[in-house]
Point group: C2
Chain length 466, copies 2
């Protein structure tokens, strides 16, 4: 009897985890095989990019995207598909977008893009340009030097940072807050160097906002080559004057939607796991990497569960968030409703860093949650995922943070992201099918493992071989 | 005194490795900063791609590339720059390359590329097409079914393999040996599905060879979409006949060169560390990833050592090998000369898997060599390199293998490589500057560490914190 007990203990504590790991590695292999052989996310992305196109909140295309997303997920036959109504800001670029200057008798008209949210110029605006690197330089120059001028923010992204997101983080204040900072000292407009590490002629737009009580002045992005050229001209001719004309404007808020689908959990239907990306994009290019990729990967996760007959224990909810780019109304509204309903959320995983080769996950949660996820690392090694670190989740899922939910960001290779970010080059052709699919497979795999083991049990039950 | 000895021991065994690791991590940071801020490899690649262009062995462009490589490395002022004469095969594509067939009264003329080394058709060749997946099917069909026909090899790359090189390895026999295998059974030509995981209309060429004593028949590659279409037509019309015309031919061998540069080792000038890529490419596209990337990264390694005043202990030799694609005469000749001279080689590191985000290194060496390199892993983690495994070195450095030298391959992310491999799409625009630079930095860093610690001392001296 004692002998049997020993054998039983042996099986329980030695063999069981090995069998569990084997079972899990087979399940992951099935997920990867399905998406790499018969994946549908790349074709879904093509349709979103080519048949809907770019889709800024409040635009006709954004509404088309809602219809597309709802129809797609209904066609997949998920348990529930529904819309969540929200109000979103509406900003319209307009048809006029022109920057001109003259140097050595030649006219220059570099490509620009108004920043999202900028006011227009109301006719042609003319002024001298003054170049600065940061807000401190602005302060040092003061009203005396800035008053009546156009401020040119030209601080480049730091190329030595290995994560391009860190480089972006070190620069984006110029774009987001530059106009109000400059207007404090009497500036009449701003030109901001595009947030990219490439040297090219493609301007990158993105959100900006005005501070309460400070005059709203027009703000545009210029390409990195355009910024270089303008800076060179300013060295020769510090009194350079430019003409700027923009017809962009904000209109009244309009109705829009988060698009939601669910596979109901068979053990804990009331506990929710969210996977999502954002459906809106900027109004140039096709929003392929940002964030068509995250949208189609999230839908693919549910498709994979259904196709492979993986019945989740918790409810698996896919959310195509609206309005990440200029307001995050989708994310905020969703989190508010969750609170109102008292819904329990286990995790929320966002893909919003481009459809590139996945490298791992960043985890914004408790130590126990992080350690549980790190225990799964060995299962991902055959798929070349190695990053399982504490880090940021995502903009849309951010408002869900409550000290209990585990927020997770899919982390792809970041080197190419800002080549395309918020620019005309963010098109379907610049997404590689396999890289996109590998991201969907990694996401589905992690959700499968957390769903199976949970965070409470995860550390005890899943003692994976390192 | 005893106390002092204890303190001394403490310093020696506890602090010294920590200081060494700190020193090394600073040196790696300097290498990465230099290449990411002031790297020259991307601009060098632009010149090679745009001003030289593609450069098949024996072509005029290949000779231009030799002149370019020698001039570039002389301009960098490396200690020695010289050419190593070799004889290379010369194969010329010719101007006629045409495949035509008629289906449902419509003419089809899918894009094709003769495989490198193929004989021409000597006028229009006409024949029925028979589709097979592999050599076993060919054998089963036998002379009776194959005789007088054109064999269409249509086995796709396996998309479920995470390394696309493994998928390539599982298919490339069709291209390399297909013609002779088919000719055994009386086939008059072969059409091979392109070695890529993409569905597109771009044919990919590559080397093939004929077996002694078997009739040489023409061999072409068709794009994956072309292969799909042809296969569909064959299902409806198994008696489909096609016309094939190729004017390609082999000419007599010509003289060419490996291009070599050195920084002489200050401690062991007679012991050599090789870093290299191959200068030749196929005759379509620009040979940007294959292997312009490896060429400019290898040159950049020497530039980095010189610029950062890192005096290597062993002689650091950059080799731009000629003729990797269709003969490996450069690699073979180099290895033969090394043997003749009795030169001792510590390591040879090759970059020939594209200029994509580096993931690590594959090591073809002794257990001690592998373990030494694995000890360095912690230093590479900030740069997102995680793969330090036993594996293949490279074609050019392969002939150096002697049981003592450590052969190393730079391992970039492989997902996109076969989108461009041997195709018109392998152009400079499809290389990302940062990904290319990160590969050069990783390579320079590993060579710096091995040069400093060696393999003999490495395991003892470098006890890096995990």
């Amino acid at each position: 009897m004692k002998f049997l007990l020993i054998i039983f203990s042996f099986i329980l504590f030695q063999v069981a985890p090995v069998i569990a790991q084997l079972e899990d590695s087979i399940q992951l292999r099935c997920i990867y095989n399905e998406v790499l052989e018969r994946g549908e996310c790349y074709e879904n992305l093509r349709v979103l990019c080519k048949e809907v196109g770019n889709r800024l909140s409040g635009s006709e295309n954004a509404e088309k995207a809602v219809v597309w997303g709802e129809a797609l997920m209904k066609r997949y036959g998920f348990d529930r598909v529904y819309l969540q109504e929200i109000m979103v800001p509406k900003w319209v670029r307009g048809s006029i977008e022109k920057l001109m200057y003259k140097d050595s008798m030649k006219n220059f008209e570099p490509a620009i893009l108004a920043l999202g949210g900028s006011v227009g110029t109301n006719g042609i605006l003319q002024g001298q340009v003054i170049e600065v690197r940061n807000f401190k330089e602005l302060e040092e120059l003061g009203k005396k030097e800035i008053q009546g001028k156009i401020v040119f923010f030209n601080r480049p992204m730091n190329p030595t940072l290995i994560s391009t997101f860190h480089a972006y983080g070190g620069c984006v204040d110029q774009r987001h807050a530059g106009a109000s900072e400059a207007a404090k000292y009497g500036a009449i407009a701003t030109i901001t160097r595009s947030m990219t590490l490439r040297n090219d002629r493609i301007p990158h737009t993105g959100s900006m906002s005005y501070k309460e009580g400070i005059k709203k002045i027009p703000a545009v992005a210029i390409s990195t080559v355009g910024a270089y050229n303008l800076s060179e001209v300013l060295k020769r001719n510090p009194n350079l004057s430019i003409n700027l004309e923009l017809s962009c404007k904000s209109e009244i808020e309009v109705k829009s939607y988060n698009v939601i689908a669910e596979i109901i959990g068979k053990v804990y239907p009331e506990k929710v796991m969210v996977v999502g990306g954002h459906l809106d994009s900027w109004d140039v290019g096709e929003g392929a990497h940002d964030d068509g990729a995250g949208v189609v990967q999230s839908v693919e996760v549910l498709r994979l569960f259904k196709k492979l007959s993986i019945q989740p224990r918790h409810t698996l909810r896919c959310i195509l968030f609206m309005n990440e780019e200029n307001g995050n109304r989708g994310g905020k509204s969703y989190a508010r409703l969750v609170k109102e309903k008292g819904e329990e959320h286990i995790l929320a995983l966002e893909s919003d860093r481009g459809g590139f080769s996945p490298r791992g996950f960043s985890v914004d949660g408790t130590t126990k949650q992080l350690e549980t996820i790190q225990r799964f690392e060995a299962l991902f090694r055959p798929y070349n995922l190695h990053l399982f670190n504490k880090g940021y989740g995502g903009v849309d899922i951010g408002p869900l943070k409550d000290g209990k939910i585990c927020l997770i960001g899919l982390v792809p290779d970041s080197q190419r992201y800002f080549d395309f970010h918020h620019a005309s080059s963010d098109i379907w052709e610049n997404v590689n099918e396999r890289e996109l699919e590998l991201g969907a497979a990694a996401t589905a795999s992690l959700i499968y493992l957390i769903d199976k083991y949970g965070f409470e049990q995860g550390l005890k039950r899943a003692t994976f071989k390192k």
